[in-house]
């Protein structure tokens, strides 16, 4: 009989091993899934995980890696702070959309002003404030009325999507777009464009912001009282109140930071890789970032690595789609599976598996 036994303290070693283990198990299970779909599993896994980095077209894909990883990391860093404190913001997708809309709106309002030193920073500010404001809705409802932030933040994603549709079809529609939905292309508007900073690397301002966020979060969590309070609240809310933590302030801070970073990610996306506000502008980064945050063990450096890995599954997934005809949904299922396996093997961090006589449970 196999049973679990709680470790006296969480195993440090396993906490590093489990994410890697989860990725390996997911590759095996994913391979099986692809085999069921009639694809060569080894070839599919190779197309997703190996070819984009080392294959024939790696020069193109490697640049894409940072483009996709940037927003994922940026959003996941914000989410991880809340998750550590037991504050579950799962509506980052909505905050990302609203950030993009606000950033784009400022850029489009100032069109065709040429002062980049003014336009671009204002757009950044608008993106941050947009995401922040959207996240403040669940935050304030939570602190004022004790409303469940999980449900409110998530429901607001659907509201944000409707606002996005409304904007793409109405207020922000390109007046010179001959009636097609979608805004002016910001990446072609010099003062507002979020350009690639080093050609061929995919490095843009959003990626820079992501790296800064990683460092910021690392210092906050390891060296600062606020980070300590965040961790304390997540592990033991009652002890946190005893230690003088004000839970409401923490809710505002964590949701606010997550919203601001998600909004920032949206703004950099709309002014760069995506270029314009369209009905289907959002591509699920806000949800995938949840997987990134957990896979990275809510640790800033882990999130950096996990963000790169999930960016790889996006890129590799696209490649597998065009080369092998693997459906796009397969990658989505694959990512969901990854989170499942991670949660399953995570148990090894806190529990020991014992094989022996069973307990009456």
């Amino acid at each position: 009989m196999i049973r679990l036994e709680k470790r006296p303290q969480p195993s440090r070693g396993w906490s590093y091993v489990t994410p890697v283990l989860a990725v390996l198990v997911t590759m095996v299970a994913g391979g099986a899934l692809f085999a069921v779909l009639g694809k060569d599993p080894v070839l599919a896994i190779r197309t997703i995980f190996y070819d984009p980095l080392f294959g024939e077209f790696a020069w193109y894909f490697r640049g894409q890696l940072l483009v996709k990883a940037g927003p994922l990391i940026l959003i996941a860093i914000g989410l991880s702070l809340g998750f550590r404190a037991g504050i579950w913001n799962i509506g980052a997708e909505g905050q990302y959309i609203i950030g993009a809309i606000c950033g784009a709106a400022v850029g489009l309002a100032l069109y065709p002003m040429e002062a980049r030193w003014l336009v671009f920073p204002l757009m950044i500010l608008a993106g941050v404030l947009g995401g922040l404001g959207w996240a403040m809705i669940p935050a304030i409802l939570k602190t004022r009325f004790n409303t469940n932030e999980i449900l409110v933040s998530l429901l607001l994603v659907y509201v944000a999507e409707q606002i996005l549709a409304s904007m793409a079809l109405g207020l922000l529609r390109n007046p010179e777009g001959s009636g097609f939905p979608g805004s002016r292309n910001l990446s072609q508007y010099e003062a507002a464009a979020n350009h690639e900073l080093i050609a061929g690397t995919g490095m843009h301002w959003g990626v820079v912001a992501a790296f800064i966020a990683v460092i910021f979060a690392y210092v906050l969590l390891n060296r600062h009282m606020l980070g300590f309070q965040i961790r304390l609240t997540g592990q033991s809310p009652r002890a946190a109140r005893f230690a003088g933590v004000r839970p409401n302030r923490l809710v505002l801070f964590c949701l606010g930071t997550a919203g601001a970073l998600a909004g920032l990610a949206g703004m950099f996306e709309v002014s760069g890789p995506s270029g314009q506000i369209t009905i289907d502008f959002n591509s699920g980064y806000g949800f995938t970032a949840i997987i990134v945050a957990f896979l990275g063990r809510l640790h800033p450096v882990g999130i950096l690595l996990a963000g790169l890995l999930l960016a790889l599954t996006y890129i590799g997934g696209e490649a597998a789609q065009s080369n092998l005809g693997l459906p796009a949904a397969a990658i989505q299922a694959f990512q969901g599976m990854l989170l499942f396996f991670l949660l399953a093997v995570d148990m090894l961090t806190n529990y020991r598996i014992r094989i022996g006589k069973s307990e009456v449970a």
Binding site: L4, K6, L37, F83, W88, I90, L141, R144, F145, N146, T147, N148, I150, L151, V152, L154, L155, L156, V157, Y158, V159, Q162, I163, A165, S166, L169, G170, F287, I290, I291, F294, P327, A328, A329, A330, I331, Q332, A333, F334, Q335, G336, M337, L339, F340, L343, A344, D346, M347, N350, Y351, E359, A361
Partner: protein, 310 residues
Amino acid sequence: MDLSTIDPAILLASLMVASTPILLAAIGELVVEKSGVLNLGVEGMMITGAICGFAVAVETGSPLLGFVAAAAGGAVLSMTFGVLTQFFLSNQVATGLALTLFGLGLSALMGQGYVGIKPPGLGDVNLGPLADIPFLGTVLFRHDFMIYVSLALVAGVWAFLKYSRAGLILRAVGESHDAAHALGYKVVLVRLAAIAFGGACAGLGGAYLSLIRVPQWTEGMTAGAGWIALAIVVFASWRAWGVLIGAYLFGGVAVLQLNLQAAGAHIPVEYLSMSPYLVTILVLVIMSSGRGRAALNAPASLGRSFHASS
């Protein structure tokens, strides 16, 4: 805008149809939460049920088999959540999210070949003279059998929780798993059963969406219905009849906004479409600010992992 095109009887009848997917999912989640488990994967189980039911109904030509398959699909998927949270003691919030993300991907994958197909229809139950009663006949007695099944489920869950010994044990487990364990009840088994029931109900709800309400298969067609079902459980403060009221209230808003769209109201479509979500948030706020009895009715062990350490 021409409001005279809206017939109140038909509006009420379509309200019941619009509400049923959420009602089914919410009554299942109510049982899950009463056992002390928070399963945020309702959306994922619903959409999996939607495609399972759709595929089987199309392949066999039997909507009934479709519903059976949907319930089975939802229950099987919920067991991944059950195993992870009950045996591997994973965080319920994270695992529920994983279930939703995985379910959305899996369903899209399964639904590849079913886009644009019309499923076999499910006829209305023949209730004879009842259906001919003016107004009430149209509202209440000209529906497909799943609507009556959903109402029976609500009544059944209510009676189960209130009067049966098994229901009492389920509530006890949700209230304090340590005390229930000390008295010798199998906390993990009770919870697994509740999770499976919740999964089956969510699957039925999803299938009702793809087979009757829409009826069609499109990716991501649940569009947050699972999340609204979760909110409705809170709105109902964990009472079965409250779930019915909440679901029908939500269905009313959904139908009304559709009717307003059709009647050509001078409100942009997007704002009408977001209204059900906004109403849900508003209701959540009202319910959670009024603490007291409602707060007491929430299962005390909700969302906490159980590990027998004796």
